[in-house]
Amino acid sequence: MQKHTFTISLFAGIFVLTALAQFGVINQYLQSVIMLMGVNIILSTSLNLVNGYMGEFSCGHGGFMCVGAYVSSVVTVLLFSKNHILGAPLLPPSLALFAFPLALFAGAAVAAVAGLVVAIPSFKTRGDYLAIITLAANYIVISAIDNMEIIGGPRGFMGMNATVHGMEGLLDIPWMLLWVLFGTVFTVWLLRRFVTSTLGKGVPAIAQDEIAAEIMSVDTNRMKLIAFMLSSGLAGLAGGLFAHILGYVNPHSFDIMKSTEVMVMVYLGGMGSLSGATLSAVLFTVLLEVLRPLEIWKWVVIPLLLILLMQFRPEGIMGNKELSDLFPKLKKYYSFK
């Protein structure tokens, strides 16, 4: 029984949440907070693979999110909405449900390829110099999109709502909430399977000692390539979901500020802990909403909290432990494969 309790409760949770949203028990605002939470979980767990498990310092996660957001948005707008440059919709709206995951996948795939910009230099260099490369990659993505007039440039890009409406036309349930929840579960599942697999054990090995890992027959270059591409691909997935939640994207919402936010979530939760990254993404999203009345002071209070955290508990909330390591009794109720 304990083998399946977690899976069952997870899907029951998704079902209950969707049902609550469907019958209007939780309002639009709460729904959007939950969706942002999901996106933040995807972002923080995927960055945790690089910054936590692999021990690198990547500070350009927003750039990959931007690539995913734009690619998937362009695909769905091209297929399902009327755009003055991209022309009339190519497919009837009834196909939106089937094409949407493909568009998300396309965004994630292109973002993963964009991750090569960072992955290839990481063969030769690490630490501070690699941090700059990720930073520069973020800037390059933002200013490249700024200069593409065909997708709106600095004014942003919109028209993704048609796809969401197309899905709702087929069956009127909160589709975006469902997609975000599935995306989140998929991300955490994939990352967990990866880091606990024999192949994925190479990633923390690189963090511990790269040369020793190589002696132990870990192909470090291949591991770095996989880790960076997986991380940036999942960031692209988060970007695609984010773009379709808002129905509007602007290159400047993915700038260095966004990357910093994701980094904050990773270090708040604890490096190398998936449950920590999940927990901190939830906490951080809630904190942002709770502190909203403070307006601009919010961005003074949050850095201050993180500075205090670094002084008194620098390893983050969970350290590098998972929830089941901290509370061993939980193992009675669920187990993972």
């Binding site: 230099p121 490369i133 200013s143 620098p314």
Partner: protein, 306 residues
């Protein structure tokens, strides 16, 4: 002729980048710490200069002390440099030193620095509001024209200041005893106190040097582009940091070369292409340099001991 005009502009921009990059590189050279708050210290420097200048000259509804602009400039420059270095030292004392004492991992100090920068930016925005401040004119503008090329006295001052600061810092680091101590700390942080060298004093001195250079850059920038806003330090700070890394972070010559290189690339791109492509090209070139030479132009690869 237009070419020389572009060269002059590039020199001026490069000087700002170089002055800020010097602060990054000094702190990095001694502590192996990326002081991400440095761009915001530059912004704070510009604001301090603004308040000192308004206090002396009047403006923005204040009567001021009514001193002449020449005297005001002579007071504003040292006052800003001292006050800005106080900000830098405060960050060191309250945030970085406790972490260093605990022997915390370098990464935590970097995150603290990043957050300190955010706090400075947004604290400024919250305290002073989003309205832009216009900097009073401290220096009477003189324009010299040679053929089609025009040079303002301010541009000359900016470039000369960058070069003087470079020579001064190079002298301090390579010729004086305190400079030797700074190099010693970067070589071995644990053996240096055994030699009777006060570690914390040297580190505070480094922060004073770096932050006062940021303050100087702040005044000169505010005089050249007299509009101040809280986020002005963020982009220019990140760019200067990238310039420092391209030059080889931790090396003073690298900071100067990287700063001027970035200035020339940016102005060169603007001269040929639309100005919106500036950041794209500048960062792509810098990325290319780092791909080919991962430790920067002057940087030395650190060997890993097994």
């Amino acid at each position: 002729m237009e070419f020389f005009q572009h060269v002059l502009n590039a020199l001026q921009f490069g000087s700002f980048y170089a002055l800020i990059a010097l602060g990054y590189t000094l702190v990095y050279g001694v502590l192996r710490l990326i002081n991400f708050a440095h761009g915001d210290i530059f912004m704070v420097g510009a604001y301090i200069a603004y308040f000192v200048a308004v206090l002396l000259l009047g403006g923005e509804g204040m009567s001021g002390l009514g001193v002449s602009p020449g005297v005001a400039l002579a007071i504003t420059v040292p006052a800003t440099m001292i006050l800005t270095s106080l900000v830098g030292v405060t960050l060191e004392r309250t945030m970085y030193r406790p972490l260093r004492r605990k022997g915390a991992d370098r990464l935590y100090v970097v995150i603290t620095a990043l957050m300190a920068g955010l706090m400075l930016e947004n604290g400024n925005l919250a305290l002073l509001g989003a309205s832009r401040k216009s900097f009073p004119e401290l220096l009477h503008k003189v324009i010299w024209t040679f053929g089609n090329v025009s040079v303002t006295n301010l541009k000359v001052i900016v470039v000369v200041a960058a070069i003087v600061v470079f020579v001064l810092l190079e002298f301090i680091v390579s010729k004086t005893k305190i400079g030797m101590a700074m190099r010693g700390i970067s070589y071995d942080k644990f053996a240096i106190p055994l030699m009777g060298i006060p570690l914390d004093t040297i580190i505070v001195f480094t922060f004073i040097l770096g932050s006062s250079m940021a303050g100087l850059a702040g005044i000169l920038y505010a005089m050249s582009y007299p509009i101040l806003e809280p986020y002005m330090g963020a982009l220019i700070g990140w760019k200067a940091f990238i310039a420092a890394v391209v030059g080889g972070i931790g090396d003073i010559r690298g900071a100067i070369v990287g700063g001027f290189l970035l200035g020339f690339i940016e102005i060169g791109v603007v001269a040929v292409f639309p100005s919106t492509l500036r950041d794209l090209f500048a960062f792509s070139v810098l990325l290319g340099i780092l791909w080919l030479k991962p430790t920067g132009l002057f940087g030395v690869a650190q060997t890993t001991k097994i």
